[in-house]
């Protein structure tokens, strides 16, 4: 055999091997994936006629947080032996991010939502993490044949998803059929914004500058914070956008420095170049003791100390509800213990317990329903959870939890640790709504 022929055969064999590997890793060819769901969804676990999906950003800096949320949902389903009342369910985990963006991607959210519509035995979706993605998915799956697909988010905090926020058409535009199919267990941003402002007041801060990432969540919580801060008599020196694609923010902070702020409030998510934003804050305005740095829960992620390094030391980060690692109620403690044991982790990410709770909210509604989506949607609201993972709470008629406590964490030695809990009065939370 000539060398040339041998070379051709080797090349052909190599190409075949590459194709075979690709085919093995590609979803639809395996025959095990759920028909209609995109490649961004995993193969199902559990067995049964019905399907429950989760929808989180599984790539980029939020991956550790998202993976724990998926595991929390699985843990609760496992406890139920993948059976909710008389319905046996399979679970799939879908990804709404792209590797290239390293965070949630609007096109992927749209594609996922359209796929969910085509799966007739999909009983519900646990997700999303990002409010911006929920804004896209909610109205699409609301129009699904057979009734809006029930959706329970453990982490969406943007107020306008469930209540009037000052933006035209909200929240009705997310429910074009007129029937709601969305609930959440995360504390809405008006509570967090109010708690952030209250915490700054407790720390004797009078002059604060706000930076937001201009996404639905970031802009929303920035506005909630500004309203609450003004109500408390704090001087808000400005509320401007940071551009995630900018290489650095030194000039931005130099402009802010001329206004002599005592604190900076960051409203947005860390994956929008948050690391550089924190580094430049310290570089221009000084460390976080000199000019206090407070960030919303989009920064409550292990990526914050990782990306910002020592500059993150001493910064405060809030999160709606309780620190999952310090849940004091028996159900919460049991969940944390079981999660740590099952997945061999010490630290639970910010929304892990909330993901478990979101599944329980959906399961409760499924259990009380007649199995149709419309019936599940109906039972999502006005539920009571006296012994929930995240404490005792109710879901109100708009789909919000009756929880208002906000935990303040601090970054210390590269870890995020709880400092205190702030309970903003309802009047302040209402003022934050505008």
């Amino acid at each position: 055999m000539s060398m040339r022929k041998l070379g051709s055969i080797l090349l052909l064999a190599g190409a075949t091997a590459v194709l075979a590997t690709a085919a093995a890793s590609a979803g639809p060819l395996s025959g095990k994936r759920i028909a209609g769901l995109p490649n961004t969804c995993s193969k199902p676990v559990g067995h049964g006629k019905y399907v429950i999906a989760s929808d989180f950003p599984l790539q980029g800096s939020l991956r550790p947080l998202s993976v724990q949320m998926v595991e929390a949902v699985k843990l609760e389903l496992k406890k139920m032996h993948y059976k909710i009342g008389k319905y046996s369910v399979q679970f799939v985990s879908c990804d709404d991010s792209t590797a290239a963006k390293g965070s949630w991607d609007p096109q992927t959210c749209t594609n996922n939502a359209n796929s969910y519509k085509s799966v007739t035995n999909l009983l519900g979706v646990i997700g999303t993490y990002n409010s911006g993605c929920a804004e896209i998915i909610a109205p699409i799956i609301n129009r699904a044949p057979g009734g809006g697909i029930p959706m329970v988010s453990p982490a969406n905090t943007y107020v306008g998803l469930t209540k009037k926020s000052g933006v035209a058409g909200e929240p009705q535009k997310y429910f074009p059929t007129g029937k709601r199919n969305y609930a959440r267990v995360a504390v809405p941003d008006n509570f967090q914004g109010a708690a952030d402002a209250l915490y700054l007041k407790h720390r004797h801060i009078k002059r604060v500058y706000v930076l937001n990432d201009a996404e639905a969540y970031g802009l929303g919580i920035a506005n909630n914070f500004v309203r609450a801060a003004k109500k408390l008599g704090l001087t808000v020196l400005g509320n401007s956008k940071w551009d995630a694609s900018q290489p650095n923010y030194q000039s931005l902070y130099q402009g802010i420095a001329s206004k002599h702020p005592q604190a900076i409030f960051l409203a947005g998510i860390v994956s929008n170049n948050g690391g550089q934003l924190i580094k430049d804050k310290v570089s221009v305005l000084g460390n976080n003791t000199k000019v206090l740095l407070l960030a919303s829960d989009g920064f409550n992620d292990s990526a914050t100390p990782k990306d910002a390094g020592n500059s993150a030391a001493g910064m405060f980060i809030t999160i709606g509800g309780s620190d999952p690692n310090k849940l004091s109620n028996p159900t919460g403690r049991a969940f944390v213990k079981a999660f740590r044991k099952a997945y061999h982790v010490k630290h639970l990410e910010a929304y892990t317990a909330y993901a478990g709770q979101a599944l329980l909210v959906l399961a409760h509604a499924i259990n009380k329903s007649d199995g149709s989506r419309l019936s599940i949607d109906k039972h999502l609201f006005k539920q009571k959870f006296p012994k929930g993972i995240i404490g005792s709470f109710k879901i109100d008629s708009s789909g919000d939890p009756s929880l208002g406590g906000v935990t303040v964490d601090v970054v210390k030695h590269g870890n995020i640790k709880a400092v205190t809990t702030v309970n903003p009065p309802l009047s302040l939370a209402k003022a934050a709504l505008g």
């Binding site: 940071w242 900018q246 000039s251 130099q254 550089q276 580094k279 990306d307």
Partner: protein
């Protein structure tokens, strides 16, 4: 006798027809001058409003502009010699930043050193980044562009866009999609203060790396044999070949030089901003390309000038406090400026006009 251009009567009427374009060009000039006056007024007003802030933000503009200038020159070198917009150049810059991260931070542990040891480590990082990127850019030319030299212009352009994706995805494969980050490597102590705000040593160090690099490049291009060969190839490839110049090597040299500059730019970026990611080169590459066009593509001094100009725009827009549109408008402003320059001065600020060249 040449081709007839019309009867005497027609010729006599011509000035009246020529009046319209002349008026139009005057109107365009007036609009241009008005726009410039508006920008100048805004800058002066900001300077009067807070001169210290203005000075600090200007200094930031110089620092950022230096990095844009290094990358912009890579674009202009390649365009000057091949009339090709090498869209992969921004990604070569990204590779420079990531190689610096690997060599200086991961392997040699720059974060744990100071003084001479740190200087040595950074010097090694700089050389490695420059060499790697020079080799990478030459390889890109050899593999992707050389065979397309006589193909229609669209072919190498599309290939360049393709190479950009390949290079950035390769970074993602090696380093992942998340940021790589380090603690500050350059000393950040105050060199001097303006209105209580520090101008750090790190900014001066950036200038101490970039400005001599730019000057050295000018010398290489103007004074050395390789530079002359490059310029001759840029002027007329066939004539250069007839004069005994190895055109392929001259072009490869231009790519190598541009790649080395991108590598140095990547190094400076990483040690100054202390983080990098696979898609770093997209925005910086776009801005640097714009800088090259602003300055007059093909003109090295123009590219440097364009780089500094964009550095100023970016920082004035973010940092000035009197009626500044804010950071979310930076990209729009940069490209509005590009459009205005192309309308009022199509050959760029320092570029020769196409008619002169032809």
């Amino acid at each position: 006798m040449g081709t007839s251009v019309g009867t005497a009567a027609e010729t006599s009427r011509r000035p009246s027809f020529a009046l319209v374009p002349r008026l139009r060009s005057r109107a365009v000039a007036v609009v241009g001058i008005l726009l410039l006056a508006l920008v100048a007024f805004w800058l002066v007003e900001n300077a009067v409003h807070d001169i210290r802030q203005f000075a600090l933000v200007s200094l930031n503009g110089i620092t950022n502009g230096s990095i844009y200038a290094l990358v912009a020159i890579g674009y202009t070198l390649v365009y000057g010699i091949l009339e090709l917009i090498n869209f992969a150049h921004g990604d070569v810059f990204s590779w420079g930043a990531m190689i610096t991260y690997s060599v200086a931070i991961s392997w040699l542990g720059a974060s744990g050193h100071s003084g001479i040891a740190l200087f040595g480590i950074l010097a090694v990082g700089l050389v490695c980044a420059a060499l790697f990127c020079a080799t990478l850019n030459m390889a890109v030319e050899r593999v992707a562009y050389r065979r397309l030299r006589n193909a229609p212009r669209l072919a190498p352009l599309i290939t360049a866009i393709g190479m950009s994706f390949v290079l950035s995805n390769l970074i993602a494969v090696v380093y992942g999609f998340n940021y790589v980050s380090s603690e500050p490597l350059l000393p950040r102590g105050a060199l001097f203060t303006i209105g209580g705000q520090a101008y750090g040593w790190d900014k001066l160090i950036v200038l101490l790396i970039t400005v001599p690099t730019l000057v050295s490049l000018m010398i290489v291009v103007k004074r050395t044999r390789w530079g002359k060969a490059m310029r001759a190839t840029a002027q007329n490839r066939d004539a250069a070949r007839l004069m005994g110049i190895d055109v392929d090597r001259a072009i490869a040299f231009a790519f190598g030089l541009g790649g080395a500059l991108a590598g140095i730019g990547g190094f400076v970026y990483l040690v100054y901003f202390t983080q990098g990611r696979f898609d770093l080169g997209f925005r910086i590459g776009l801005f640097a390309f714009t800088a090259a066009v602003l300055g007059g593509i093909g003109n090295i001094l123009g590219a440097a000038l364009g780089g500094y100009l964009i550095g100023f725009i970016e920082n004035y827009n973010s940092g000035l406090t009197w009626h500044a549109p804010g950071p979310s408008w930076t990209e729009s402003l940069v490209f509005i400026l590009l459009i205005l320059i192309l309308v009022f001065r199509p050959h760029g600020l320092l570029g020769e006009s196409l008619s002169t060249r032809s």
